[in-house]
């Protein structure tokens, strides 16, 4: 250290180099490449109906309330809200200073426009059923909006968060519907940069976000349907995160140096759906004893261990442990083929019976293999299963025609409340439900008005138990989604959340 000047320069250099990382850590940096098996075909949040659309929406757009990275329901574009005593009117106070990705400020008009667009039948919003209880949207003043519902709904906010995305009115009217689908604009943590159809979508951190600026600068979503190819991308480093890997590849992924696996409880429950609602009049499934016998016939642990490689957790009923509070004392039906046979004989089927089963191929993880395994186990107790394995598209298209006596299905988590499953998949009025039980219907109707969370948990456990006792379905498991993640990535999705939020992800060296 010769002169004062040199010492000063040195001190400056040291302090800058110490301060620089502190400043830099607030700046998003790095590129995160995620390889997914499918893409959000449309980028318009009011037109998509698949998991990948919801994923894109969660990172690009926001609603009045949002779910943070821990999937907690927190204020979003609206910083607070009140509910009228009769439960029909929700008044939101909008947050100040929220801007769209093009810099224009968010106004009450945008909120009104977006919610009306989402509920307008002409928009053909697939998620309309979540928010059609909205009767009126009124602008009270520049910062306040009032939503009036047609009927009381204890979980309206949870549904709104899933389907009520806010889009910019002026921009949309200027570029038109197709223009918006080409270059969407929202208020979320990531902004849209570019897209190559069926190949990749590039997004960038929104550094003006009101709540959480992403840690990565660039987010690239690659569409790679082939599992082996995604694995290859992980090995060569072309992808940082690969999602939804098939369970058989678990060991291969673990063996790659610099990569770790993540078994992520998906919140999606799997069950063998039995058609009792519109089924044949003389169907053996109409007898409760028969359904109980079938539940005893399935060796779930064998399938989970040998076919799914432990990427699933058996559940006694229909509640997913990652989303709901499941009673720990609740025991599932035991695997007992001898007992199954005896119950069938007592119920009037000593030689079993014939039944048709319809399974999909390519819709769910290893669905072909699991369908075959399930059919085989049923055959072992005398049930002659005629298994029809259909391509995913045909299976889905024909399912509503309601002639599948038995089918392997899943039901996913959308609103983080078991009521979603109940009103859309169990209640006899639901389009996708094949079950009818007056008692269960009554219990579900009651849950619509219970607001206390603990009371809700207890109530749903009651419904779960009722369905289990009635052997409404053949209960199976909650599955886990398998990820391969490079060590340089720090990211943890919340269990039960299958719309992955990437703003907390960071990429190291």
């Amino acid at each position: 250290m010769k002169s004062f000047l040199q010492r000063a320069a040195f001190a400056l250099a040291v302090s800058v180099s110490v301060a620089a990382p502190l400043v830099a850590s607030a700046q998003p940096s790095g590129t995160l490449t995620v390889a997914l098996p499918a893409e959000p075909a449309t980028l318009d949040p009011h037109k998509g109906n698949t998991r990948y659309n919801y994923l894109f929406n969660s990172n690009m757009f926001e609603g009045l309330m949002v779910r943070n990275d821990k999937a907690e329901l927190v204020p979003g574009i609206a910083e607070s809200h009140t509910v009228s005593p009769d439960g029909l009117t929700y008044t939101f106070t909008l947050r100040k200073g929220v801007r769209f990705h093009d810099g224009s400020p968010l106004t009450a008009e945008d909120v009104k426009f977006s919610l009306e667009r989402a509920t307008n039948p002409a928009t053909k919003n697939p998620l309309l059923n979540f928010i059609k209880t909205i009767d009126k949207v009124e602008i009270l003043d520049a910062n306040r909006i009032a939503l009036t519902l047609k009927e009381k709904d204890a979980i309206f906010l949870k549904k709104l968060t899933f389907a009520g995305w806010i889009v910019p009115r002026a921009y949309l009217q200027q570029v038109g519907e197709e223009g918006f689908a080409r270059r969407p604009i929202g208020t979320g943590p990531f902004r849209f940069v570019s897209r190559s159809i069926n190949e990749r979508i590039e997004m960038q951190a929104n550094e003006q976000h009101w709540g959480w600026v992403p840690k990565v600068r660039t987010l690239v979503l690659r569409t790679v349907p082939e599992d082996a190819v995604r694995l290859g991308m992980l090995q060569t480093g072309e992808a940082d995160i690969v999602a939804e890997m098939p369970p058989p590849l678990l060991d291969r992924i673990s063996a790659i140096r610099g990569v770790k696996t993540l078994s992520h409880p998906s919140g999606e429950i799997y069950w063998l759906v039995l058609n009792i609602k519109d089924g044949a009049k003389e169907s053996p499934l109409l007898k409760r004893e028969v359904r109980i016998a079938l539940n005893h016939a399935i060796d779930r642990q064998a399938i989970i261990k040998n076919v799914l490689r432990d990427q699933a957790e058996q559940i006694p009923g229909v509640l997913a442990p990652s989303v709901s509070v499941v009673d720990p004392n609740f025991k599932p039906y035991a695997y007992d083929p001898a007992r199954a046979r005896k119950i069938l004989a007592d119920a009037g089927y000593p030689n079993g019976f014939k039944i048709d089963m319809y399974g999909s191929v390519g819709r769910y993880t290893l669905d072909r293999d699991i369908n075959l395994a399930l059919a085989n186990q049923l055959k072992a107790v005398g049930v002659e299963v005629n298994l029809n394995l259909w391509d995913s598209a045909k299976w889905v298209s024909d399912l509503p025609k309601k002639y599948y006596p038995m089918s392997y299905q899943a039901f996913g988590n959308t609103i983080f409340d078991p009521e979603g499953l109940m009103i859309f998949g169990v209640h006899s009025k639901a389009f996708w439900s094949f079950y009818r039980n007056e008692n269960v219907d009554k219990l579900i109707d009651e849950s619509l008005s219970i607001t206390d969370q603990n009371a809700r948990d207890a109530h749903f456990q009651k419904i779960d138990r009722a369905m289990h006792d009635d052997a409404s379905h053949i209960f199976l498991w909650e599955n886990k989604i398998l990820f391969g993640i490079r060590d340089r990535v720090t990211w943890q999705p919340r269990p039960g959340d299958n719309v992955y939020k990437f703003w907390t992800a960071s990429v190291g060296k």
């Binding site: 059923n129 569409t223 090995q235 979603g420």
Partner: protein
Amino acid sequence: MPGTGYLVERLLQAIVCILGISVIVFAITYLIGDPVHLLLPPEASATDREAFRAAMSLDRPALERYGLFLANALQGDLGQSYRYHLPVLEVVLERFPATLELALAAIVFAIVLGIGSGMLSAVRPGSAWDRMVELVALSGMAAPTFWVGIMLIWLFAVEWQMFPTSGRSGALSLVLPAITLGLYSAAVISRMTRSTLLEALGEDFVRTAVLKGAPQRAILFVHCLKYVLPALVTIVSLQFVLLLAGAVITETVFSWPGVGRLLVQSASGGDYPVVQGITLLLSVAFVLIQLLADLLQFALDPRLRSAT
């Protein structure tokens, strides 16, 4: 003039063909069924679905929908994709360069390997070389495309890391998919070249050239290829179209972002306008390529001209 008569006739035939294709394409997607349940989540109610169906005009009678489809198609409007909510033409054309690139690379590979090996075989018929080429060609025709693709990825991309595993990212990424796609065609072209060349080598004009003392190279390339060209043009045009259609499997295996992969995903996603659009475009391309090949042959081979 006999020439224009043939031209007009071929053009009319092409138009009839395309119309017939449009009918069948439309009937196929009509037959596949109802996309409404594929485009809506399980949570949608029965009334939602009916409204959706009406909003998409799916409840109109078939003839009316076909008429609309045809009228729009003639104006270049192939409808809007159910899943992308963008014009079908835009969605398909964005993917088209990738498939074209792959098909061209595959046909170049097939032509170079096919004609090269075919010529070598024809020059030394019955030799060990000929036998080996025959074996490889027959193997190329016997190996299922997806199997070849997966094996190539496994060996050259994952184990030896010489090429990328997937996707379209520059010249290197084109190699494995082009080989996979072009292998069958290379085999067919090889056999075709060999047999037509052998046939040509036995013809009088070749004997005359030999007697006149022309060098062997000149005989082969100048005389024989000219003789062989018409047959080759037919084969190559046929193969090219087979390539466009067969790209489906190769694009799937290599995650190549082309039209073939889009076709399969649209079919399983219920995006029938895209399926219709792709099929129509591919079929029209086929008819046009055939027309072009026929016209090319007509121009090349004087014998055909006198036949009309």
